[in-house]
């Protein structure tokens, strides 16, 4: 039993150990310098990434409360990798921060919460994981301690997540009342689609939609993203969104399979609205963080298309897309985070003529934006079109072709706003461009990892094939 516990919960335990190491460092008598502390933390996180990907086993614990399999371990691995990249790229920001250890403790607790959420076999554990991943997050959103905007963002986040948690809990209790079970594995047999079950499902769905900021539940996103420190923004938009999406996919295909006809239509409407609203608002943004916030809303709309696809291809395309999204969005955020930490500049206008002074940073953010826009040979091309293909060819029947047409046409709009940034960097004139910056080693490593990921994840098909083979369990 203990052996099982150690092996199956390995990924969670590693994170817990890291949190405790940080705790002891913090309460210990020795005063650590920020540089050395950051180096130590990054090494620990690197080890965490390595441990996440190797030696995983399948199994269940605590009477089906906690389950893990190769797909789940892989998803956790993606999240660990993302956290490692974020940590590397926020080096310049944390260098002069007073509370480095606390930052990582809070951040890693949210990661732990996400791991529990992904592994949950029961709605209650899912809920606990979700809360654990949200509440510390509000604290880190407030981590620009001297900025009012930052605490405002934290407040918005906590209020809106409290609301969405309320919806979720209401849905969960209704679900329990009508089906008599909270286990994901038992739900399909008891779900018959009675009105009250549908209501419960819709409330649950809305709770999820809040977390992944699907329109019309997206209103908190832009303000929180703008107010939070860039490192936290990237964490919010990639890691926490990715984690909820992982659960969303598995829950829809697993527990709520009997309601597929319902959620297919819901996905259709929400996805179309999300893509269009996200795109139209992204066009108008000048602050890069807000810009990426709205573009990430549009990206989620595309992910919903993939979710609608047949279970294996759909799951595979979503997870593949999130992996690519981790690389491409974090590459963009790495550049923004670095420039913001050094110069404080965050708007598209500030980035004009960036190429004349900082060619390396320009290429990194350009490749990232191309990947987000879905331009080959970057991986975003494959990710985006595989999502659309999964949506076109759902098993048994065909997907709504109009959905694909709307999405494909929206690709043009998204193309416009991504190219707007590229245009500012390469083509616009600027009298006071951002001065030439020398990039410290750690952020540079983060950028190189991301760019390599963006280029290689697509061209080397075995990554997709591996994810596809893992997804067969559903």
């Amino acid at each position: 039993m203990l052996n099982d516990f150690l092996i199956l919960m390995k990924q969670e335990l590693v994170i817990t150990v890291i949190i405790f190491i940080l705790l002891f460092i913090k309460v210990g008598s020795k005063d650590w310098k920020n540089e050395s502390l950051l180096k130590l933390i990054n090494i620990l996180l690197l080890l965490n990434v390595v441990f996440s990907f190797i030696g995983n086993q399948e199994g269940v614990l605590f009477n089906d409360m906690f389950k893990t399999n190769n797909l789940i371990s892989f998803e956790k691995g993606i999240l660990s990798l993302g956290v490692f990249i974020i940590s590397l790229s926020s080096y310049s920001w944390l260098q002069n921060h007073k509370h480095v250890a606390e930052f990582y403790m809070l951040l890693l607790s949210t990661l732990l919460g996400m791991f529990l959420m992904i592994s949950s076999g029961n709605l209650l554990l899912f809920y606990i994981g979700l809360e654990m991943s949200t509440i510390p997050l509000a604290a880190v959103v407030n981590f620009n301690l001297d900025k009012k905007q930052s605490s405002e963002a934290a407040f918005k986040l906590i209020i809106s997540s409290a609301f969405s948690s309320g919806l979720l809990l209401f849905g969960i209790s209704l679900m329990y009342g009508t089906t008599g079970t909270l286990f994901f594995s038992e739900l399909p047999q008891t779900l018959t689609g009675t009105p009250i079950q549908l209501l419960a499902f819709i409330l649950l769905f809305a709770g999820f939609a809040f977390k992944i900021s699907v329109v019309p539940f997206h209103l908190w996103t832009a303000d929180v993203y703008e107010g939070a420190p860039v490192a936290v923004t990237s964490y919010l938009s990639v890691i926490s969104k990715g984690a909820v999406l992982f659960v969303f996919v598995s829950v829809l295909y697993g527990a709520f399979k009997p309601l597929a006809a319902t959620w297919y239509n819901m996905l259709f409407i929400l996805s179309v609205v999300t893509i269009i609203v996200g795109n139209l608002f992204a066009i108008r943004q000048n602050n890069l963080k807000r810009f990426l916030a709205f573009s990430s809303i549009a990206q989620v709309g595309f992910i919903l298309i993939g979710i609608s696809g047949s279970s294996q291809a759909g799951t595979a395309s979503v997870i593949y897309f999130i992996l690519i999204y981790v690389f491409s969005n974090l590459a963009a955020f790495a550049v923004i985070s670095f420039i913001s930490a050094v110069t404080g500049k965050e708007t598209i206008d500030d980035y004009k003529a960036l190429y004349t002074t900082n060619p390396f940073l320009s290429w990194v953010i350009t490749i990232a934006l191309f990947s987000l826009a879905g331009v080959p040979p970057t991986a975003g091309f494959f990710g985006k079109y595989f999502l659309l293909m999964a949506g076109t060819g759902i098993a048994g029947s065909k997907g709504l072709i109009i959905w694909i047409i709307i999405a494909a046409l929206n690709l043009i709009i998204s193309f416009y706003y991504y190219l707007r940034v590229v245009k500012a960097i390469f083509m616009d004139a600027n009298e006071t461009p951002i001065e030439k910056l020398s990039i410290p080693l750690l952020p540079k490593i983060a950028m190189i990892i991301c760019v390599a990921g963006v280029v290689l994840t697509g061209l080397f098909s075995f990554i997709y094939e591996y994810i596809f083979s893992l997804s067969s369990g559903f």
Binding site: F381, T392, K398, I401, Y416, L419, V422, K423, D428
Partner: protein, 496 residues
Amino acid sequence: MNLSFLIILPLITAIIILFVKGLKQVRTVALAGSLLQLALVFNLLFQYLKERTNNTAAMLFQYDYNWFDSLNIHYHVGVDGISVAMILLTSLVVVAGVLVSWAQETLSKEFFFLLIFLSLGAYGFFISLDLFTMFFFLEVAVIPKFLLIGIWGSGKKEYSAMKLALMLMGGSALIFVGLAGVYYYTFSNNQSFDLLTIAQANIPLLTQKIFFPFLFIGFGIFTALFPFHTWVPDGHSSAPTAASMFLAGISMKLGGYGCLRVATYLMPDAAHEYQWIILLLSTIGIIYGAFATMMQKDLKYINAYSSVSHTGFVLFGIGMLTRTSINGAVMQMVSHGLMTALFFAAIGMIYSRAHTRMVDQLGGMLKVMPFISTVFMIAGLTSLGLPGFSGFVAEMTVFMGSWQNADTMYRVATILACASIVVTAVYILRAAGKAIMGPITNEQYNQLTDARWNEKFAAALLIIAIVVIGIAPFWLNDLIGSGTNTIMNKVLMILK
């Protein structure tokens, strides 16, 4: 011969360019790479001709690698006569483009990298036999254009670059919808993107009717199908010389090739069904392009609008669906590619010296730069279809083929399209008369120098190809014949 070399060589060239320093090294690498590529393509041409005599397969030198197994996406390459002709055209234009940009001082490394990268997309597109891979390479060729125009262009370059990128992306989006439709609605299981597999299966009629417009318009945008031609004038005139050459010479051919190889070949029923729309739009395009050209005062705009008119003949020939007209369409693609590249090269040479492209400000160029002026005249005469040059052969074949379509309305369309040649003669001769002939209008022009060796070499390369096609068209006709036959056999099966 391993076709993958055709994309590996540009890739290696592009990567080496990233690691060398200074204009001299960069351009040497680019030229060496593109010359090697040209040699490779000639080798392919001769090997293809040899292989064809004892191998009757539709596509030769096939290589099939299972890329994304679970989606059945293959890296499947192979060539027939049409692809070989297009690849030959591409390699000629690339060499000429590199030579013309010999003095590219600003950001030379990025410039040549993007040029070579663009050509990589084109080569990949022409050899692909898998629709997804084809689509991949098609999009690879879009972004370099945006950057080339936006960074090194002139005039309202940002606007033109954005317009071009968005319109071509729109085309790609339509193409993707069409491809997804073909993929999912042809076979109920074991779906495939493989061109040859799909060609053997008959796509259900309803699928054809729904998805043919997506594919044809999508590819049509790339090749200036009216009314989606608006990116052409802006894009071409704002682009730096080499990019204009690539755009008109290579990039617009991607669309024509796609219309023929993907849309028409795979969905002949729908092509027949929508024939009148294609012909209507392309006839409008031809005539509108010709008349719009008459109003232009900028040499680049003249050539850009005349490109709209000339590529209209490609779509016109495809739309007519006769053996000869499709032959003519392919010949027109090759001919127009060479001619327009030469034209843009000549305009670029004049512009870099006289610093203006306005017809009424130029004058007497023949006296100060006889070589460039001669090149300009040759390009112009090819454009207006003078016998002895490739333009005559190609357009003649299109008209001959179109006339074979006995429908009265289509014959009227043919006559109308034919008449546009007169308009072409007007604007070409007027521009040439004003800019090239006549007295020198500006005294500063007396100091201008004639072409340098690189420009001479580039022009000579293209002129030789134009003249060879002009006086011995049967070589080209013979080369593309097997390819167009395969397509036409499928089309004619429907028509009977």
